[in-house]
Every structure is written in structure tokens, then in C-alpha cells.
């Protein structure tokens, strides 16, 4: 008893908690380290792949954008922001921005409402509903290349399907050069985009509509609300999260549009259907101005990112929790 008197005080001050507690803390730390290592081990393959083939190339594009560089060897001719100033004086690139905006607006005011109307229609109990769903969604599974070539032939001047049909019904005047005329190329392109992508949005809306509880619309019906009122005041607000996601995807898709343009017009005639990605491809892989092309990449990414962050911050924020919790019920 007496022998423990002094040493006991010292252990209290210098060695921290009494021996059993130290052991516990140490084993807890060890367990936590082990836990971290296990978790990290599971993450490692994904991280290596993602870092190496997604993040690293992105960062390199950011670096290369500050050089005059043809793509051979390492970039060495540093020119600061010159690529960027050149970009914003380049008529083709400014045109890309304008065309991107046009596509975004057209998608939002024509494509999405159309998709919504079809979704509401197909949500009713009707004959052949499943067939229509399959049919409308099918274009989404076809590759952009195949879709583009198909429509390139349909809209070929004179012997294309579109012109011939118009000719047969005596509307020759309406037909025309379609993809080949600067004044109609964007409208034609938008038509093809709508064919290809509206089924996708329609499917999203259908999934959202399934989640609208029937009792709510029935209750509104009993309260004497007409079809339009029921849609406007009950269905639409409940569909809002889905709508916001679909708007998001639609805008991001328009910013990054490449394949469909590349196989139909490759940006022509005379740059009138060029998108940012097409311009980037032209400079990077055809004209070997890789530094300049990288600057286009960077601007494209910046636009996507700013839009995505702003959208997430102001529009999507409250949806995400709700969406993930409802999804837990759906995903089986």
C-alpha cells in the first residue's frame, strides 16, 4: 500500500489515463486504423482508375490551355491567357456559345413539355401503353452515330425521304436543303435531338408520375377540380423534383453535344451547326492546335461546372435528400 503512494501520483500526471484505459484507447486507435485501411483498400482500384483516366487528363487540359502547343512532346511555349483571349474573339466559338444557348432554350420550351405531355398521356390506363413506352424509348438505346446517319439520309436534299414525301403531297416548297442550308440546319438538328432524347425524359416523368399517390388526385377530383387544375395543382408540384433533374440533364447534354453533330454535319455548313465539342475536336485532332483546343475544353468544363454548382445550390438542394429517400422504396 505505501509503496504505491508516490508512483501512483506520477502515473496520474505523466502517463495519462490508468493502464486499462490506455489499452482500450490503443486498441480503439488500432481498430480505427484497420478500419480505415480496409475502407481505403476497397476504394483503391476505383481511385486509381478515376484519378489516372479522368482527373489527371482534366488537370492536364487545364495546364496545356496556357501553352501554344501542337500536341507533340511536352508543352513548352507558355503564352499565359492568350488562348483564352483569342477564344473570346473567335467568331466560331462565340457562335458555339450562342448555338448552345439556342439548343438549351429549345429543349426547355419544346422538348421537355412535349415529353411531359406524352408521359401524362401514357400514364392513363390505355390500350397498348407498354408498346408505346417501348417505342418512344427505343431511340434512346440507338447510338448517336447510327441515329445521325439515318437522319442524314432521311433529310438528304432531293432524294431523301423527307423531301420526297413533301414532294408527293405537293409541298415541294417546304422541303429543302435541311442539314445543308445554314438557316435550317439547327432546326433539323433539333428535330433529330428531339426524336432521340425525348423518350428518355418521358421515361423519367413516367417514373415520377408513378410516385404521385392516386389518393391525392382522387381527393382533388372529389373537391371538384377539373383535369387541368388537378394537373396544375397536384401532379405538377409533386413532379417538380423529377422535372428539375430532367432540366439539369438536358442542359448538361446540350453543353456537351458532340456525336450527333459530328456524324450529321460535322459542324457545317460553314460552322453553322458547330458545337463547342466539335470546335474543340477540329482544333485538337485536325489542325493540331492542341493548346487552343485545351482552352476550349476548359471553358466547356467551366460552363458545365458553374451551371451544375449553381443549379445544385439554388434548385436541386432540397430535392436530393427527398429523392434518395423515396428511391430507397423504389429500388428493389
Amino acid at each position: 500500500m505505501t509503496s504505491t503512494f508516490l508512483p501512483d501520483k506520477r502515473t496520474g500526471r505523466d502517463a495519462g489515463p490508468p493502464p486499462p484505459a490506455t489499452d482500450r484507447a490503443r486498441s480503439r486507435a488500432r481498430r480505427r486504423a484497420l478500419n480505415w485501411l480496409t475502407a481505403a483498400g476497397f476504394q483503391l482500384p476505383a481511385l486509381v482508375l478515376f484519378m489516372g483516366l479522368v482527373l489527371l487528363p482534366m488537370l492536364f487540359a487545364l495546364y496545356a490551355a496556357f501553352f501554344r502547343w501542337g500536341g507533340f512532346g511536352m508543352p513548352s511555349d507558355y503564352i499565359g491567357g492568350e488562348n483564352f483571349t483569342r477564344l473570346f474573339q473567335d467568331d466560331v466559338f462565340l457562335g458555339d456559345l450562342w448555338r448552345c444557348l439556342v439548343l438549351v432554350v429549345l429543349s426547355l420550351v419544346i422538348q421537355l413539355p412535349f415529353a411531359l405531355a406524352m408521359a401524362v398521356l401514357l400514364n392513363q390506363r390505355m390500350r397498348g401503353r407498354a408498346v408505346y413506352r417501348m417505342l418512344f424509348f427505343a431511340p434512346y438505346v440507338l447510338s448517336e452515330a447510327i441515329t445521325g446517319i439515318l437522319f442524314g439520309m432521311i433529310f438528304a436534299p432531293d432524294d431523301g425521304f423527307a423531301d420526297q414525301v413533301l414532294g408527293k403531297v405537293g409541298l415541294d416548297g417546304l422541303g429543302g436543303e435541311w442539314f445543308a442550308d445554314p438557316s435550317t440546319v439547327m432546326a433539323t438538328l433539333f428535330l433529330v435531338m428531339t426524336w432521340k432524347y425525348f423518350g428518355f425524359h418521358m421515361m423519367l416523368y413516367l417514373a415520377g408520375l408513378q410516385a404521385v399517390p392516386r389518393e391525392l388526385t382522387e381527393a382533388a377530383l372529389i373537391d371538384g377540380a377539373g383535369p387541368w387544375q388537378r394537373f396544375r395543382n397536384v401532379t405538377l408540384p409533386l413532379l417538380a423534383p423529377t422535372l428539375r433533374i430532367s432540366v439539369f440533364l438536358s442542359v448538361i447534354g446540350a453543353i456537351q453535344l458532340f456525336d450527333l453533330v459530328w456524324v450529321t454535319t460535322a459542324g457545317g455548313p460553314d460552322h453553322h451547326s458547330e458545337t463547342m465539342a466539335v470546335t474543340m475536336f477540329q482544333y485538337g485532332f485536325k489542325r493540331y492546335q492542341v493548346g487552343y483546343a485545351s482552352a476550349i475544353s476548359v471553358v466547356m468544363f467551366a460552363i458545365s461546372l458553374v451551371f451544375a454548382l449553381a443549379y445544385q445550390r439554388f434548385v436541386l438542394r432540397r430535392d436530393l435528400e427527398g429523392a434518395t429517400t423515396t428511391m430507397r422504396g423504389d429500388a428493389k
Binding site: N35, W36, T38, A39, A40, F42, Q43, P45, A46, L47, L49, L53, V54, L55, L56, P57, M58, A61, A64, G71, M134, L135, A138, V141, S143, E144, A145, I146, L150, F151, M153, I154, D159, F161, Q164, K168, W195, G199, F200, M203, L204, I245, F248, I252, I255, Q256, F258, W262, V290, A293, S294, S297, M300, S304, Q312, A323, T324, M327, R328, D330
Partner: protein
């Protein structure tokens, strides 16, 4: 909606001559040679084979790697988890076109041009964000008691993942696999960059080349387009549920 597809299918049975006289109606006499010629050539089947190889490779890789990562996100509380997850979700916004140039240079220096791995690896890497997000959501629903029980029975983390979680997650794995197959099958940009040698071309590239080569013979090109659509549409009709389920799940989760 179906008009362009029907038109193409019918046109494939016409001769190019007839196509200009009679664009809309049924073929006067059903010419099958357009279709049979293509089916009889080895080129077409090689394209299908390449597309299949690349789609399967990409799918196996992206699903395996994502499952490990999603498991760790769903089941472990570790330092840096949220940062890492945010990094992956941001990947959803990275346009492929942005990385295309440096990626091309990287693949060139690794000697992966004209090599199927040059398409498989980047496709898998860009598929990670969506796959991880969907799988993580699914793994989180599996009750923690199961893991405790497995641990008590002497199961390691990986043992639990391999023997309990993956078999249970089969529907979710099916969904992400179908998504990965479709995305890979339709990819145009990356194979266009990576494959200069016709031996490795995938279906979308082959179609584009064929159209360039026979641009005057409309009926032939239509037949080719239709045959190129068949695998995708067939796959879609079989896997429709998984595909639609996956797209809506991924989309509503942002």
C-alpha cells in the same frame, strides 16, 4: 417515332433505283441481297465481335471496381469519405470531350492506341461515378445486422462483401451492368480516337465508314443501318426493365 425505323427497314429491301421512284410504299419486289450481302461478309461480324468484347470488358471492370468502392462508401465510416464521394459525384459533370485530348495523348504514350484496352479502361473510368452512386444507394439498404451476423460467424469484410452482399445485390448489379453495356455499345467518340486500324473498329465507327464508302447506294446503307440497330434493340427489349430502372434511379439521385 417508329416511322424512321420502319422506313429504313423497308428501304433496305428495295434497290437504290426503286428507292428514288418509290420512297414510301412497300417494296415492289423484296430484294434481300442488301441484307444478305452484309450478313455474309466477315467485316460486319467482326464489328459486332469488337463491340461485344469492348462492352463486356468495360462492364465487368466498371461493375467490379464500383462495387468495391460503393461497398466501402456504404459500410464504412472513414476519414475523407465525404470528400471522396463528392469527387466521384462531380465526375458526373465531367464532359468526356474535355478530357479527350490529354486522354488521347496519355493512351498514345502508354501504347494503348489500336488496343481494346485503350477504350475499355477510359470507358470504365468515366462510368464509375454513375455506377458507384447507384450501387451505394442499394448497398445502404441492406441491414447492418446482416454484417454483424456474418462477422460473428467469422466472416471478414471482404468475405461479407463477396459471399453475402454481392449475391443479395444481384438486381442492382444487373441494372448497372445493362447501363454499362448500352453506354459502351453506343460510344462513338472514344473508339474514333483510339482505333485507326480497321481491325478494331466498333459498330458505330463501322457504320460511319460504310456510309462514307457507299454513300450513293442508299438501299445498301439503309440495310446496314438496320442490321446495326438490331443488336441494340434486341438487347433493349430483353433488358428494358433494368435499363429504365437504372436511368431513373441514377437520374433522381443526381
Amino acid at each position: 417515332m417508329a416511322v424512321p425505323l420502319l422506313y429504313a427497314a423497308l428501304s433496305g429491301f428495295k434497290s437504290t433505283d426503286e428507292l428514288s421512284r418509290n420512297p414510301v410504299g412497300l417494296p415492289e419486289s423484296w430484294v434481300t441481297s442488301n441484307y444478305t450481302q452484309i450478313l455474309g461478309s466477315g467485316d460486319f461480324w467482326r464489328l459486332i465481335g469488337n463491340s461485344t468484347l469492348i462492352a463486356v470488358g468495360t462492364t465487368v471492370l466498371v461493375v467490379a471496381v464500383s462495387a468495391l468502392s460503393a461497398f466501402s462508401f456504404a459500410r464504412f465510416a472513414f476519414r475523407g469519405r465525404e470528400v471522396l464521394f463528392t469527387l466521384f459525384t462531380m465526375g458526373l459533370m465531367f464532359p468526356f470531350a474535355v478530357a479527350a485530348l490529354p486522354l488521347f495523348l496519355l493512351l498514345r504514350s502508354l501504347g494503348l492506341l489500336d488496343n481494346p484496352l485503350g477504350v475499355i479502361l477510359p470507358q470504365a473510368a468515366f462510368g464509375l461515378p454513375m455506377t458507384i452512386i447507384i450501387l451505394r444507394g442499394f448497398f445502404r439498404q441492406i441491414p447492418g445486422e446482416l454484417e454483424e451476423a456474418a462477422t460473428l460467424d467469422g466472416c471478414s469484410s471482404f468475405g461479407f462483401f463477396w459471399r453475402v452482399l454481392l449475391p443479395m445485390a444481384r438486381p442492382a448489379l444487373g441494372t448497372v451492368s445493362v447501363l454499362a453495356v448500352v453506354t459502351s455499345w453506343n460510344n462513338f467518340f472514344l473508339p474514333l480516337l483510339v482505333f485507326t486500324d480497321a481491325q478494331w473498329w466498333t459498330l458505330p465507327i463501322g457504320v460511319q465508314q460504310f456510309q462514307g464508302q457507299y454513300s450513293a447506294q442508299y438501299a445498301k446503307v439503309f440495310a446496314y443501318l438496320v442490321l446495326a440497330m438490331v443488336p441494340a434493340l434486341a438487347f433493349y427489349s430483353v433488358a428494358e426493365r433494368q435499363l429504365v430502372g437504372g436511368l431513373t434511379a441514377g437520374a433522381t439521385k443526381g
